[in-house]
């Protein structure tokens, strides 16, 4: 879809044109799925989140002021909806064996990275997922999560530090950022 056609459809959709809205969603469906898949565990949950995001976006289209922000706005709704679904699902618990004697974490080099990411608290977990799983640059994550880029950077830093503590011998070394901006 060309930029002009996209802009036209966003304006038509904001004016209540269902077909235009449907064209926009179809054009974004792949991206929406990849985003949902980044944040959720099953395709069924992804379908639920996307469906709810589509309905919320449709209901709120009249409030959208700037057509250029349509996609970002939809993705924000989707991320929020994924978060809601994730809270509804029980968190994945790490096996007891990962806790060392006296509650001290033991070195577990084979600990599944994904399980460790699951264990991260919010908003660190979503930030890691968006940056590494969805391959989004810092600025885009900042836009989607409505926080400054510096905050995204520090969240990633804290997340890596925590993951390194769980998966490795010690803390993340130094303050060097490894994110693409």
């Amino acid at each position: 879809m060309t930029e002009l056609a996209w802009d036209t459809d966003v304006r038509l959709a904001a004016d209540g044109d269902r077909e235009a809205f449907a064209r926009l969603v179809r054009a974004m469906s792949g991206e929406m799925y990849r985003m949902a898949r980044t944040l959720l565990h099953s395709d069924a949950d992804c379908a639920d989140a996307i469906q709810e995001a589509i309905l919320q976006a449709y209901r709120g289209m009249g409030k959208l002021r700037e057509p250029a922000f349509f996609k970002t706005w939809c993705m924000r709704i989707l991320i929020r909806e994924c978060g809601r679904i994730k809270r509804r699902v029980l968190p994945v618990a790490l096996p007891q064996a990962y806790e060392g004697e006296a509650g001290r974490p033991q070195r577990m080099p084979d600990l599944d990275l994904q399980a460790a990411v699951e264990r991260l608290e919010e908003p660190l977990q979503t930030t890691v997922r968006l940056h590494y799983w969805a391959d989004l640059p810092l600025e885009r994550i900042a836009e989607l999560t409505e926080v400054p880029a510096g905050t995204v950077k520090s969240r990633l830093h804290r997340a890596r530090k925590q993951l390194a503590a769980w998966l490795g011998e010690g803390d993340e070394e130094g303050d060097v950022g490894y994110e693409r901006c």
């Binding site: 209540g16 929406m32 799925y33 469906q51 799983w133 890596r160 993340e172």
Partner: protein, 438 residues
């Protein structure tokens, strides 16, 4: 482990996750369903404005009421004890709920919704025997304030769905509503009867409905073809309430002229029962397109489903709009059944008419190519007036023997059966069998 290791590990894990991340059919079909069920937003906004106004007005009334009542607490308790619930609206929380008006108690037993079909199980208990011959009903159902069914002046005992009298004063049935234009994942359902079994009153229910996602998906993707055409079947979804899939049919330059015939699908289970379609789809010659099929759920004991292409002549009815009357001159038996002709489609065989004290039971079966439409026939009394059928749970169409029931009749009274010419099905030999996932 240092930061660089962690960064690399995360990047690698991300690459693996992203590989082949194409939206699967489950997600794509849900997106399409959602887009097809979007309501009219202008209507929604009007409704929201009305609701806001309603909430504000109701809040003001409540505040005034609370202030008034607070000053007179003993009176409040006394007054509340004396309130009666007649024709009141109830709010549902998933349990059975009832409203009684004019001595008729309507109970909503269960509401099921699979994203397409809304099924409401209910029971009517009356103080008096239910008059199923003249007792008509009037009903409106809304989802999120939008009308999904409106049968305000229905001239039938029940406007939609199926049910039966379990006792002379108790009727149990199911309202079945295909939600073809508005299909949200959850919604507020309003059911409002203003007439029930012939009595005017108010039986209203408001209850939340949530989609039951219990479903089995079959990655069928079948293609069958011969010289007549090509049938393509997409992924099939089976829920406790419906069977859904998409199909595409392309006419070939075979023996049958695509300009004269429409192609339709017939779904038959392994016990020769035919699934009813909620919205039958036909396709003609020209550019083939993909169409959705919405049919009833497959019975629990069915193991396989045969999907058949059938051709019909859409102009058949133009030349065959007439009644065929057959007078019963002697009691039919299995060995000597009474044949009711139905034109080119076939005929009905009446094998028994049993006169009981409270009902008359007619046993019959259809013979011919179109068992679904061939089930229809009527019975006239000696004055030429149609006798009403007693309500009964609708059986699935098929070739098996079945019964229909009239009220009590005098065994000596003459009966006249009425049928119509019925469009015949031509089968071009294109069919495919799928195993139903359980």
């Amino acid at each position: 482990m240092n930061a660089a290791d962690m960064n690399d590990m995360l990047r690698l894990a991300g690459q693996e996750r992203r590989a082949g991340a194409e939206a699967p059919p489950l997600v794509l079909s849900r997106i399409e369903e959602t887009l097809q069920s979007l309501p009219d937003r202008r209507g929604m906004q009007r409704l929201a404005r009305r609701r806001r106004f309603g909430y504000v007005a109701a809040s003001l009334v409540l505040i005034v009421l609370a202030l008034t009542m607070a000053a007179r607490l003993p009176w409040v308790a006394d007054g509340l004890n004396r309130l009666s619930v007649v024709g009141a609206a109830l709010r549902g929380e998933g349990k059975a709920m009832s409203v009684t008006d004019h001595g008729i108690k309507l109970t909503i037993e269960q509401v099921k919704y699979d994203g397409l079909i809304l099924a409401v199980d209910y029971r009517i208990r009356s103080q008096h025997p239910i008059d199923w011959q003249t007792g008509t009903s009037s009903l409106v159902m809304r989802a999120d304030g939008m009308e999904i069914i409106s049968m305000r002046d229905a001239n039938t005992f029940f406007p939609i769905g199926t049910g039966k009298l379990t006792k002379p004063n108790i009727y149990e049935g199911t309202l079945l509503v295909p939600m073809t234009s508005y299909r949200p994942p959850e919604f507020k359902l309003d059911i409002s009867f203003t007439k029930l079994t012939g009595a005017f009153g108010a039986w209203s229910f408001k209850l939340p409905v949530k989609m039951d996602r219990t479903a089995s998906t079959l990655d069928s993707n079948k293609r069958v073809y011969n010289s007549e055409g090509l049938l393509e079947i997409g992924d099939m979804t089976f829920t406790p309430l419906s069977t859904r899939f998409k199909f595409k049919y392309t006419f070939s330059s075979g023996q049958t002229s695509p300009s004269k015939y429409l192609a339709i699908l017939q779904l038959v289970d392994d016990k020769d029962r035919i699934l009813r379609m909620f919205a039958p789809i036909s396709t003609s010659g020209g550019e083939a397109a993909e169409y959705p099929v919405y049919a009833q759920a497959v019975p629990k004991d069915a193991r396989q489903l045969t999907i058949k292409v059938a051709y019909i002549d859409p102009n058949y009815w133009k030349n065959h709009d007439r009644e065929i009357r057959t007078v019963m001159t002697e009691a039919p038996t299995k060995a000597h059944p009474l044949k009711l002709p139905q034109g080119e489609a076939g005929y009905i065989e009446i094998s028994d008419v049993r006169y009981l004290a409270d009902r008359t039971v007619i046993r019959y079966r259809t013979v011919g190519s179109n068992p679904g439409d061939q089930l229809n026939f009527g019975v006239l009394d000696e004055k030429g007036v149609y006798l009403p059928w007693m309500p009964q749970i609708e059986e699935m169409p098929g070739l098996a023997e079945r019964t229909r029931t009239l009220g009590p009749l005098d065994p000596g009274a003459p009966l006249t059966f009425v049928t119509q010419p019925t469009v015949p099905f031509l089968y071009p030999g294109l069919e495919t069998v799928v195993d139903i996932p359980r």
